[in-house]
């Protein structure tokens, strides 16, 4: 199933709050913008983290090729239908930290759904719940769903327990980005500074390298979808 303008929909979803959905959404937006892409962010979280970030910051509003808007709360089916038919370029969708019918609806048509999680048991359990839902949703709609876990806020020195947890993930059928996003001030500053790691006046090369590596992985997930659509 491909949309008319070959837009890429990337949603950021997790049943748990505070795992870094909005932060990684903005970091990825920044990388796409730095690569000359157009990015539209739709904020479906009622706390409006990203919508406020944008509305409150002249710096953010001055970023070319970026638009930020709030998602609607009713007539969602019409809205998604229309979004599917009209969207272009990259559409990043930030969701609330809960599992709702809107998360499911978006995942059903998104090109990629990313679930950030810390390397901690509660986060991984929740990410696993999400993966399980995605798996069954895929069976229901009769098409595969790209759902990938993003290990985020990894501390600079990783403990044996954390390593063991990552090994466990890799032995399961959970799909994760090979790149780890570490805890860095370049990421936490996003909200206070109104800028994005890739577009900040003072860039943190390590943060950028992580996001760039994620983007390569994202690219290889989005690419086969495009080739199939063209075939």
């Amino acid at each position: 199933m491909s949309n008319p303008h070959n837009a890429k929909f990337i949603s950021f979803a997790s049943p748990k709050g505070g795992v870094g959905k909005s932060t990684t959404c903005l970091a990825i937006a920044g990388a796409l913008l730095a690569a000359g892409k157009r990015v539209r962010i739709i904020d479906f979280d009622q706390t409006e983290t990203i919508n406020r970030w944008y509305g409150d910051s002249d710096t953010a509003q001055a970023i070319p090729n970026l638009t930020v808007e709030k998602g609607p709360t009713d007539n969602l089916k019409d809205y998604f239908d229309h979004l599917w038919e009209t969207a272009t370029d990259y559409v990043l969708i930030d969701l609330a930290g809960s599992l709702s019918d809107v998360t499911i609806a978006i995942a059903s048509f998104a090109t990629l759904t990313i679930t950030p999680a810390k390397v901690s048991e509660p986060d991984i359990i929740e990410a696993n719940k999400m993966a399980d839902k995605m798996h069954r949703l895929a069976a229901r709609i009769g098409k595969p769903i790209n759902h990938v876990i993003l290990l985020n806020e990894v501390p600079s020195s990783i403990s044996n327990d954390e390593l063991a947890l990552i090994t466990q993930i890799d032995q399961s059928n959970l799909r994760r980005f090979k790149t780890l996003i570490h805890r860095r001030s370049a990421f936490s500053k996003t909200f206070s500074r109104g800028t994005l790691p890739h577009l900040a006046p003072q860039q943190d090369p390590k943060a950028l390298a992580e996001i760039d590596a994620i983007m390569l992985e994202v690219g290889s997930i989005l690419e086969p979808a495009r080739q199939k659509a063209a075939a």
Binding site: M1, N3, I42, F44, Q46, E48, N51, R52, G55, D56, D58, Q61, A62, P64, T67, V68, E69, K70, G71, P72, T73, D74, L76, K77, Y79, F80, D81, H82, W84, E85, T86, T88, A96, S98, L99, S100, D101, V102, T103, I104, A105, A107, S108, F109, K133, R136, L137, A139, R140, I141, G142, K143
Partner: protein, 142 residues
């Protein structure tokens, strides 16, 4: 090809069919509804989309919003002198991308909000709109 377990009706679902199937899935799995107000919320109040007059960060180009139902500002809320802005209602419009780009550039050039630019243009087009409803406090009428 092996026979697939997927029901035949799911083959080549378009966007609409996909969304319907996703909705059925959510209902069956008892996944909470984003739009169903929680118990005690003003279910029967059709004016839920009306926003308090004082919120002015509205972005007209943005699709509908869920504004937490704040009580309307009353006199006890520090009210500035002069006329108050009218209550607002959010709605969404799809602009051609090139119009949106122009709007974005204008925001950049004028430091006005999208809403201010759009309302001013509507007034130029003959709509009756008061200054207080167009411009944020402190923003000059341009």
């Amino acid at each position: 090809m092996n026979a697939s377990k997927a029901p035949i009706k799911n083959l080549k679902l378009g966007i609409s069919g996909t969304l319907d199937a996703a909705k059925e899935f959510s209902d069956e799995e008892n996944i909470q509804s984003f739009t169903t107000p929680k118990k005690g919320a003003a279910l029967s109040n059709p004016q839920v989309e009306e926003t308090p007059a004082a919120t002015s960060e509205g972005d007209v180009a943005a699709p509908g919003t869920n504004v937490t139902r704040l009580p309307r500002p009353t006199a006890s809320v520090k009210s500035g002198k002069g006329p108050k802005p009218a209550p607002t209602k959010r709605f969404s419009v799809d602009l051609p991308l090139y119009v949106f780009d122009q709007l974005h550039n204008k925001v950049h050039a004028t430091r006005l909000e999208k809403k201010e630019i759009i309302l001013a243009a509507l007034r130029d087009g003959g709509f009756t709109i008061k200054d207080v409803d167009i411009y944020r406090k402190g923003k000059a009428n341009v």
